[in-house]
Amino acid sequence: MKKVLIIYAHPTEHKSRVNKHLVGALSDVRNVTVNNLYERYPDFYIDVKYEQGLLLKHDVIIWHHPFYWYSAPSLLKEWFDLVLEHGFAYGREGNALEGKIALNCITTGGSESTYETGGLNRFRVSDFLLPFDQSANLCKMKYLEPFVIHGVHLLSDKEIMEYTTKYRTLIDSLAK
């Protein structure tokens, strides 16, 4: 069974409904590690060695975060800047992440229909995620389609439960 690392970035977790639930449901799954960045590094001082160690120990990396300004909350960007070092993650000798699976798990306020040509947000979610896609590629990882939950502001409790199950199913299938 593969090991899954959820790199979770949410600056206002106490206000979150969906993400808290999604991640909370995974807390006692044995092959899943949840790495809550904002909880671990409240002062943005990322422990690079520790994070690299986590990456090495896992096979599936999920960047789990709300979609802020078509990208990730700032601490996750800091994580990319600092943890994916040259010589570790990329470059001639940077092969540490080779062959691992990577994807984003994202929640958006806007509905799916707005993320289309002619829609309010004009582009598809996967277009906005190109930097992640290419970063994974540079690190010789296999980048998969994102797991996206749209229109989170209006979700009912039942729908949240359904998404939680779906997320869990996805993770289980990735870990096989």
Binding site: F44, Y45, D47, V48, D81, L82, E85, H86, G91, R92
Partner: protein, 628 residues
């Protein structure tokens, strides 16, 4: 006295102290009363373990007062002293003047002898520096307004001992015209003044310009005991020198202390002398207790009680009136009034001196000595009255009853609301957290109430107080007091009785932090740590570092320090019985800390932002490409 006899005496004194002081503290009486009672118990009128040598011992032990004043001086900068001049000379002078005048009038009415009247007035005007300073600092009240006023008056009194000696000598010479001392005083008045000015000058110049080199020389030998010897030599030397020129040793050493307050060896001096001070003061108090002549006391107990009541009563009245005049708030005025209502240790010396000069007959001197001793003996009791009866009364209107407190059910209790606790409290309140604040400084309590804070007055290191503050329901206890032993006491209390409380503790220094960690307190911080680093950030910025670079450096430093602390913790294992001493020793030497710090390289952080390896690889790739 034979050697074994001396050892026996020492053993008795120490044994009495070791048994009685912890007992007295346990009952909440303070160490001074403990020592006094120990003295009575071992004295000639109870167990008869020490005899008439009490006075000789007392003379040696008075040296404790001298060391104490030196240490007090070390903590006072000349500028601060200058700022306190109104209190020292104004308040102190008036206290001595008025009290002496009233006592002189009363005495004149009873004894009808001018010399006796003036002497008695002056003797009884003084208070006990030893008892009051010791008690105030033990209770952490020296820095309060009331405490500072008391200190100023005590200082003025110590300064006045010299002229009082001169006055008594002068009075004596009038009684017995051919007393040589008196003649000397009168004839050599001007010379005396010159000598005094010269002596003071020598201390100031020596302390300013010479002491530094001597201490440096001694410190470089690396022998700790030599430094201790030098420190003792300095104090004893000054005391002897002052004695020779006819000045008060206490005053001289105090002055030397003030001069050395800016010296870089200040803490070293303080550390070395502290144990001597404590021990000698203890012996001094014991000998006061032992010197009480109970035969005389029992024979004349009615007279003595009346005199004692008059003495303490008059002093209380004068002090209270002066406190009012100097606009002390009521609670501070009460502390001021009650702390200084006794006669002082210089009384013993002065009374003995006066009776040697035939101002007093043996009987009068004996009675006065008992009154002085008893008034000192009841001082701790006066403190207790003030704390437990007077102060709660003053705050009665605002003193919320226990039931109301428990209804509050605030999740956070802040113990200690000085400058430190205030910032912390403001931060929490700004975040909408409900806090119960407890402080032992009545002034803070009043003031903060005006701004709508829920502040209560009391000694939080007592279990019932903690209970009434709602410790059972609270989640977090923030220990923000400045006095280390109070902090430790409260931590212990909370861990014992309210183990569910999360403790957030203000630590004094690294050793304290380690000790707290050892006790299982997870959240603790040296109170100065973060502000020191913040100033460091400003310093980096002033050198042209970018704002973020400075900020980032501070973060790195803090995180390294956390690791460094962990390392220290492992190095001094919990099971080591000497843990506290070891860590203390370690952290006292800056050198150790710097060495440890070197093992955690500061420069290896933030590698990913370095582009060196990228550039290198790019260059190498460039070279591999076939050149056209």
């Amino acid at each position: 006295m034979h050697l074994d006899e001396i050892f026996f005496k020492i053993m008795i004194y120490l044994l009495a102290a070791v048994i009685s002081v912890p007992l007295a503290k346990k009952i909440g009486l303070g160490s001074v009363l403990g020592y006094l009672i120990a003295g009575i118990v071992i004295g000639p009128f109870a167990l008869e373990l020490v005899g008439s040598d009490g006075e000789g011992v007392m003379h040696i032990a008075e040296f404790g007062v001298v060391i104490m004043l030196f240490i007090v001086g070390l903590e006072l900068h000349p500028s601060m002293l200058w700022r306190m001049k109104r209190l020292i000379f104004g308040l102190g002078g008036m206290q001595i003047g008025f009290t002496a005048l009233i006592f002189a009038l009363i005495t004149a009415f009873f004894w009808l002898n001018t010399a006796q009247a003036i002497t008695t007035g002056l003797v009884l005007a003084l208070s006990s520096t030893a008892i009051v300073l010791q008690t105030l600092s033990e209770k952490g009240m020296l820095q309060t307004r009331g405490g500072r006023h008391s200190f100023s008056v005590l200082l003025m009194q110590d300064i006045s001992v010299v002229p009082i000696f001169a006055i008594i000598a002068l009075l004596a010479s009038q009684i017995v015209t051919d007393t040589p001392i008196g003649d000397d005083e009168v004839v050599n008045g001007w010379q005396q003044l010159l000598i005094i000015v010269g002596a003071v000058g020598i201390i100031i110049v020596g302390g300013r310009y010479l002491a530094h080199y001597i201490f440096k020389l001694i410190a470089e030998t690396g022998l700790r005991e030599l430094f201790t010897a030098t420190a003792l030599l300095l104090v004893i030397g000054i005391a002897v020198f002052m004695d020779v020129v006819g000045l008060s040793p206490a005053l001289g050493t105090f002055l030397a202390g003030v001069v050395l307050a800016n010296s870089e060896y200040r803490y070293e001096l303080e550390d070395n002398l502290e144990p001597f001070k404590g021990l000698l003061l203890g012996v001094f108090f014991i000998s006061v207790g032992a010197s009480i002549n109970f035969d005389l006391l029992f024979e004349n107990w009615q007279l003595i009680v009346v005199v004692l009541l008059i003495v303490v009563g008059v002093k209380l009245l004068v002090l209270f009136a002066l406190g009012k005049l100097f606009k002390l708030e009521k609670s501070h005025n009460m502390l001021f009034t009650f702390s200084l209502a006794q006669a002082g240790e210089f009384g013993f010396v002065l009374i003995t001196f006066a009776s040697q000069n035939d101002i007093y007959d043996d009987y009068t001197a004996g009675i006065l000595l008992i009154v002085v001793a008893l008034s000192m003996l009841i001082t701790p009791v006066l403190f207790i009255i003030n704390e437990h009866i007077i102060q709660p009364r003053i705050h009665e209107t605002k003193y919320t009853k226990v039931e109301v407190w428990e209804d509050n059910g605030h999740p956070v209790i802040i113990a200690g609301f000085g400058r430190f606790g205030q910032v912390l409290g403001r931060f929490l309140v700004a975040n909408g957290i409900k806090v119960t604040i407890i402080d032992n400084n009545p002034h803070n309590v009043d003031y903060l109430k005006k701004f709508g804070y829920k502040v209560y007055y009391g000694d939080i290191t007592r279990k019932d107080m903690l209970e009434s503050a709602g410790a059972a329901k609270a989640k977090t206890l923030i220990v923000a007091m400045s006095e280390r032993h109070q902090v430790d006491k409260l931590v212990e209390l909370a861990q014992k009785h309210f183990s569910h409380l999360k403790l957030i503790v203000r630590a004094e220094d690294i050793a304290h932090e380690l000790a707290l960690q050892n006790k299982g307190v997870e959240a603790h911080r040296q109170s100065i740590f973060d502000s020191a680093i913040q100033l460091g950030v400003n310093a980096l910025s002033s050198l042209g570092y970018s704002k973020y670079q400075s900020f980032r450096s501070a973060l790195t430093f803090k995180h390294l320090d956390k690791r460094f602390m962990k390392n220290l913790q492992q190095r001094y294992s919990k099971d080591d019985p000497h843990f506290l001493m070891e860590t203390r020793k370690f952290s006292e030497h800056l050198e150790n800390i710097l060495l440890m710090q070197q093992k955690h390289p500061y420069q290896e952080m933030d590698c990913a932002w370095d582009t060196d390896s990228l550039i290198e690889e790019a260059r190498e790739n460039e070279e591999v490409k076939p050149k056209k």
